[in-house]
């Protein structure tokens, strides 16, 4: 980034970048592997916000950016945009998800059961300081259940719809090639639902949390309850031009439906790449809150979607480091002009008043 004000320009700029990279040291395959295996939840968060599912590339981006998340997202999104969109995978219904964690806070138990899966929710947050003394922390082995949980789970919402607790809005069927793609089309308001959910899926976790928390805490009319939260592997099924459907692998996804009683029970939804529960709960709350008539500004759709976009917001924030002296120049100019105008208007009579008695004294 060119800091034009600095004389000696290009050489200094090059050394500044070298200084940054020298602090990080060499980026090796081992380091990238260590980042990928050691920080899976950070990788997940990054892949979600970059809307690019590739753990190796995400680990590389993180290593290369020294852990600066926004820089890493930018690296990944800039890479992503060079890739062609070659196919659209088949839609995944909830019962198709290979679910490893699935909980509901709305009912004590649900058809299919509560599956805790991997979580720190109920752990005591005590630092394993012994590790720094050289005593490795080796986790206790997991004891498999006598009866393994089924790999797939039914949808709780379907049960509630069948019960008449939630209105059953008919789903739209859209041809795959007709699905609007936020990465290729601008976000316009009111946003198409597909765009809104895509935008929330790649929204900044921190920003989504801040606005979602504002909504939960009282700056909106909704009081979310987690109807169903899932961490799962979604099969990616593609259709070959010959018509056969084949699997292109699985992606880690998180998905939440929150429920709130407004006039009737209403759902908010969010799903994203990677396992990131905070993000999807906050985003689903914002989805629900922004669907209400006259939402609080913090839950207004346009406000939320514009201001949780990580690349646009972080880029704009750091752009203020760029030189602004040309535009800023007109400000001191105007200020000086105002000051001069004021001085000439105000000082003149004061001077004459002060001078007058002095002259009298002299005269005496």
């Amino acid at each position: 980034m060119a800091y034009v004000a600095t004389r000696g320009g290009e050489y200094a700029i090059e050394q500044a970048e070298r200084l940054f990279r020298a602090d990080l040291g060499p980026i090796t395959r081992e380091r990238v592997d260590a980042v990928r295996t050691g920080l899976p939840y950070l990788i997940d968060r990054l892949m979600g916000e970059a809307s690019l599912y590739e753990p190796d590339l995400a680990a590389l981006a993180l290593a290369q950016a020294g852990g600066d998340l926004y820089e890493a997202i930018l690296l990944l999104r800039a890479y992503r945009t060079t890739q062609p969109r070659i196919a659209v995978a088949d839609p995944i219904d909830q019962p198709d998800l290979l679910t490893v964690r699935r909980i509901s806070a709305a009912f004590k138990d649900i058809p299919g059961g509560q599956i805790l899966g991997p979580t720190l929710d109920y752990s005591h947050r005590l630092l394993q300081v012994d590790v720094l003394q050289g005593n490795d922390y080796v986790p206790e082995p997991v004891i498999p259940a006598a009866k393994p949980a089924p790999a797939t789970q039914p949808s709780l919402t379907s049960w509630q719809k069948a019960q008449g607790l939630i209105p059953n809005h008919p789903g739209e069927t859209v041809a795959p090639e007709e699905i609007p793609d936020l990465t290729r089309e601008p976000l316009l308001f009111p946003a198409a639902r597909a765009h809104k959910l895509q935008s929330l899926a790649r929204a900044d976790t921190g920003g989504t949390l801040a606005l979602g928390y504002a909504s939960m805490r009282g700056y909106s009319a909704v009081h979310p309850t987690v109807n169903e939260l899932r961490l799962a592997y979604a099969p990616v099924r593609l259709r070959h031009p010959s018509g056969t459907i084949f699997s292109a692998g699985r992606v880690r996804v998180s998905q939440t439906e929150v429920i709130s009683k407004v006039k009737e029970l209403q759902l908010g939804f969010s799903a994203t790449f990677g396992w990131n529960e905070v993000k999807v709960i906050a985003a689903a709350t914002l989805d629900l809150a922004s669907n209400q008539p006259n939402p609080h500004p913090a839950a207004n759709e346009e406000f939320v979607l514009y201001h949780t976009e990580p690349i646009e917001s972080s880029g704009f924030c750091i752009h203020f480091k760029l030189p602004h002296y040309v535009t800023f120049q007109s400000t001191p100019d105007a200020l000086r002009r105002v000051k001069t105008d004021k001085d000439t208007a105000a000082v003149k009579p004061a001077v004459t008043e002060k001078l007058a008695p002095q002259q009298e004294e002299v005269a005496l």
Binding site: F107, K108, D109, I110, P111, L116, D121, Y122, S123, H124, R125, L126, L156, W159, A162, Q163, R217, G218, Y219, A221, K261, K263, H296
Partner: protein, 303 residues
């Protein structure tokens, strides 16, 4: 005198996890809360090793009240064995050397999330309620500073208006839990998100209730034998959940607050929400000698 004689041997954690100055502050705030029933006393809520919003407020009060002879029961939604309840109970006994119990009658401190036990509490028992949002005015005034002024002026008109609007729009008051309640005729409090069923249990109760919100940093209290009146209109009676006639499928007990359990076939089963109360009934039906305490509700009705 040597410096060493003045200090205690080093320990990884203080008794009860919280340091003594934190406990002293919380005790003082609790005393103030008892002195001004229903008034939200701000306090410097500490970080404890569970996540904010998971009962850190209740936990700090429990840790402060704790002594080695304490008998602690922790409830989550009525249940002792739910993950969060057992995690908190384990933590409390780990750092406090107290005794764990699931029996309401045996406990000296009961920390609870969203329920008051069905068996009546005694004067020597303390109920600690975890509170996610201590501010009853939040739905009408999200700004805390303004809401505090409204409490000062006992300006609760907007709360009545919300209830009235629900009546007009839906034909009945729709407030599910956290039913705003006037304490001692002065402060309106939220009784934590306990169901409407549990609110009458606070009125003129023999036990002390301490309500603590860790994330929002507020403690308030209902002292023993204090009026707690849900906000109701003269001509519209307070209605609790229609659970009077539901029967627990496990214990066959009727007339208490139930959990609805959705079934595969689209129907629902019901089970007692107060899990240990249910366990006692099952044991009794199997001819074990079990002492079941007096309950607030009798045959699904409260007199």
């Amino acid at each position: 005198m040597k410096l060493q004689e003045l200090t205690k041997p080093w320990m990884a954690f203080n008794y009860g996890f919280l340091d003594e100055s934190a406990k002293r502050e919380i005790r003082r705030r609790i005393l103030k809360a008892i002195a001004v029933p229903g008034y939200q006393v701000p306090y410097a809520s500490r970080e404890v090793p569970i996540a904010r919003g998971w009962g850190t407020g209740g936990l700090q009060v429990t840790l402060t009240l704790l002594k080695p002879t304490s008998v602690v029961k922790v409830i989550d939604q009525g249940s002792d064995d739910s993950v969060n309840a057992s995690s908190i109970r384990k933590f409390v006994t780990r750092v406090g050397g107290a005794v764990e119990t699931e029996d309401t009658m045996a406990a000296t401190i009961i920390q609870s999330r969203h329920r008051i036990p069905e068996e009546k509490l005694r004067e020597d028992q303390v109920l600690v309620l975890q509170v996610p949002n201590p501010e009853p005015l939040r739905p009408v005034q999200p700004d805390m500073s303004v809401a505090r002024e409204m409490h000062g002026d006992a300006d609760y008109g907007q709360l009545w208006l919300v209830l009235y609007e629900q009546l007009v729009k839906s034909g009945r008051i729709m407030q599910g839990s956290s039913y705003p309640s006037m304490v001692n005729g002065r402060h309106v409090m939220t009784p934590s998100p306990i169901p409407r069923w549990d609110v009458p249990k606070l009125n003129q109760a023999g036990h002390l209730t301490i309500l603590s919100a860790g994330r929002e940093k507020r403690i308030f209290a209902v002292p023993p034998y204090t009026r707690v009146e849900p906000l109701i209109f003269d001509d519209v009676p307070y209605r609790v959940e229609d659970h009077q006639d539901k029967t627990c499928y496990r214990s066959n007990v009727t007339g208490f607050f139930m959990n609805e359990l959705p079934q595969e076939d689209g129907s629902s089963q019901y089970e007692l929400s107060d899990s240990h109360f249910g366990v006692k009934h099952i044991r009794k039906s199997e001819a074990e000698s079990v002492e079941i305490g007096e309950t607030w509700y009798k045959n699904g009705r409260m007199d």
